[in-house]
């Protein structure tokens, strides 16, 4: 019986090589899609916005951006977008936190129904809820009818005001944080809370010192996701929002689709990405952290 020499530490058995090749082959198609549709166009777009037309042909420069910053209308849209996004995020998060906390500490049929209701928007597409809110919140809509039944006749519709999209954004973005925060809160055991109560802590203190730190990460991820979803939104502000100022999504669509000015639309898109970049970068960093922790 020959005694086989142990394989050199650097060599890999043929099975391992096949596995590596197979793995790379299987992910090739989606990765290709990712590169050709996301990476390359984005790079091309950023490159394109840095080309300033001049007499001697296109030159490298920030001219387009200067034009953007100089345009009062564009800046108004920018500010409005940021403000609307932050306001909706804050409200959605606060309400979701409240619901998530309630669900954490309650049982029974009422809690189950509230849970189901809070997840309902997951199944409703943007365009459907925008239209529905027009009919619900709009002039002579159902809300007005209901309020008049109870004697309230001074209803002013939020339709075509900034409040309209605000309500829609909050509505749409309730489920995700409820899910994410719910997962985070369920990791805090009942015992940990009972121990705190046993030591005399009251509800607000328990909230701030025990619960919130545990869900800090979930809160931040939920915030990032809502922020990124709302900031580039089109359908909601299109159907419910005022004609001016516009959110950047509507502005971009009008610039590209109606006004047919692709270069300007690109600058607007890059501005949108820049605005989101703080949150994007932070979301990526947090996910990286969790991946490292998991390994």
């Amino acid at each position: 019986m020959t005694i086989a020499k142990p394989l050199a530490s650097g060599a890999k058995a043929p099975g391992a090589f096949l596995e590596q090749a197979a793995g790379l082959a299987l992910i090739a198609a989606p990765m290709a899609l990712l590169i050709t549709l996301i990476l390359l166009p984005t790079v091309a777009m950023i490159w394109g916005t840095l080309q300033v037309p001049s007499d001697s042909g296109a030159q490298f420069g920030l001219g387009r951006y200067q034009a953007f910053f100089a345009d009062a209308y564009s800046m108004a849209n920018l500010r409005y977008t940021l403000f609307q996004t932050l306001a909706s995020c804050a409200t959605a998060l606060t309400l979701s936190l409240g619901i998530a906390l309630y669900l954490r500490f309650s049982e029974g049929r009422i809690a189950t129904m509230i849970h189901a209701l809070s997840l309902f928007p997951l199944f409703v597409p943007s365009v459907v809820i925008s239209y529905a809110l027009v009919r619900f919140l709009g002039p002579n809509g159902l809300l007005q009818l209901l309020l008049e039944q109870v004697g309230f006749t001074h209803y002013r519709t939020p339709y075509l005001t900034p409040v309209g999209p605000y309500i829609a954004f909050v509505w749409e973005n309730l489920p995700l944080p409820v899910l994410v925060l719910g997962a985070g809160l369920s990791q805090v055991s009942d015992h940990a809370i009972e121990a705190a109560r046993d030591l005399g802590a009251k509800a607000p203190r328990i909230l701030v010192e025990i619960l919130l730190p545990q869900v800090r990460r979930s809160l931040l991820i939920a915030f990032a996701l809502i922020f990124l979803g709302v900031i580039g939104s089109f359908t909601v502000p299109y159907l419910l929002g005022p004609p001016a100022p516009e959110m950047l999504g509507v502005f971009m669509q009008r610039t590209l689709g109606n006004l047919r000015r692709p270069e300007e639309a690109q600058v607007q898109a890059v501005m949108l990405m820049l605005m989101a970049s703080v949150v994007s970068g932070f979301y990526i960093a947090t996910m990286l952290q969790s991946e490292r922790g998991r390994r």
């Binding site: 019986m1 086989a4 020499k5 142990p6």
Partner: protein
């Protein structure tokens, strides 16, 4: 039938299995026995081909299997978690290996029925795995392996998730089935009782290394290393310091031909006998095991000796007693250096001998 030579597996910096070498004869059932983490499952998986080896050779029936993938080896494995597919019926589970081979439907149906009868599950063909109890599921898993007529059957702690009574029954059935079919089997377990009951020979492993291979009786009577001695059965243990070939064990002088230093002495509870000469002590506890009594004796020096005796001795707690060791095993540095049955002139080992001097 199966030859394993210098099989090695390295995970990062640790050697999970180190140069394992042994052979299994046709129709033999050997057990890989050891505590968790000793490498027995890894060794089994390397034989199956599910874990690639980092060195060494595996040969089955004279053919080298080392480079072959698991699905080309004439082995079949029963997993700890039965691993039945719950989207298939019992019959579909059992027939899987045959369907892969492309056998005709009628042949498959016959073989499946025969396999189910073998494991005592007649008429279970249409059932689903979710409807089965733990024991039934493992029987199906076994049938699934038997039906492909492997040359070597591999079993990875298949009964550890079942309750003790069921385990004992399945053990019996497995042994008689295996004998009847003359099926070469490798059985991994951490339960020494199970190994003693099932195995023709036991391979004791510890920290990736094979410590000893032998029939159960041999391992019990003649452990070659401290690990094997402690793992199988119970032991009274004492570490004494040899000085000039002599040492004192709880008042009983002992002479061993070995270099000065620490020597571990082991004595089985059933090899202790009461007498007028021997280690003085007081009976602390009597545990009634049913067929025997296990007595804890506290010695004058503060040590506790365990003594196994029959019921008619009738030991009383609190009574004074003197115990003599009639069979001692000596270990130095983990390895056996000598042993002596007191009362006969025959040493058990050719290596350095040890005498127990009775005053």
């Amino acid at each position: 039938m199966l030859n394993v030579t210098q099989l090695t597996k390295i995970f990062g910096q640790t050697k999970a299995v180190s140069d394992a070498t042994f052979e299994v004869g046709l129709g033999e059932l050997i057990c890989l026995l050891g505590p968790s983490g000793c490498g027995k499952s890894t060794l089994l998986r390397m034989i199956a081909g599910l874990t690639p080896a980092d060195g060494g050779q595996i040969a089955i029936d004279g053919q080298d299997m080392t480079a072959r993938q698991a699905n080309r080896r004439p082995t079949a494995m029963v997993f700890q978690s039965h691993a039945l597919w719950n989207h298939m019926s019992v019959a579909q589970n059992v027939s899987f290996g045959l369907r892969v081979q492309g056998l005709p439907k009628a042949v498959i149906a016959d073989k499946v029925a025969a396999a189910l009868t073998l494991v005592g599950l007649d008429g279970f063909a249409k059932r689903r795995p979710t409807e089965l109890s733990g024991g039934q599921a493992q029987r199906v898993a076994l049938a699934r392996c038997l039906v492909v007529e492997p040359k070597v059957l591999l079993m990875d702690e298949p009964f550890s998730a079942l309750d003790a009574h069921l385990r004992a029954n399945l053990r019996e059935e497995l042994k008689s089935l295996q004998r009847r079919l003359q099926l070469t089997t490798i059985f991994v377990t951490h339960d020494q009782e199970e190994a003693m009951e099932l195995a023709d020979r036991i391979v004791v492993m510890h920290a990736g290394v094979i410590e000893q291979i032998g029939p159960p009786g041999e391992l019990y009577l003649n452990p070659q290393t401290l690990t094997v001695a402690r793992f199988i059965g119970q032991m009274n243990e004492a570490t004494v310091t040899l000085c000039g070939g002599r040492a004192d064990w709880l008042g009983q002088p002992v002479s061993i031909a070995a270099p000065d230093g620490l020597v571990t002495l082991l004595c089985r509870p059933e090899d202790m006998h009461p007498g007028s000469a021997g280690i003085p002590g007081r009976i602390a506890r009597v545990i009634d095991l049913g067929p025997m009594l296990r007595v804890s004796v506290a010695t004058a020096e503060g040590a506790t000796l365990t003594w196994l005796c029959s019921r008619d001795v009738n030991p009383q707690p609190g009574a004074a007693i003197r115990l003599r060791a009639t069979r001692l095993l000596a270990f130095h540095d983990g390895r056996r250096i000598g042993g002596r049955r007191i009362g006969t002139a025959q040493p058990l080992m050719e290596l350095r001998q040890m005498e127990s001097v009775t005053p």
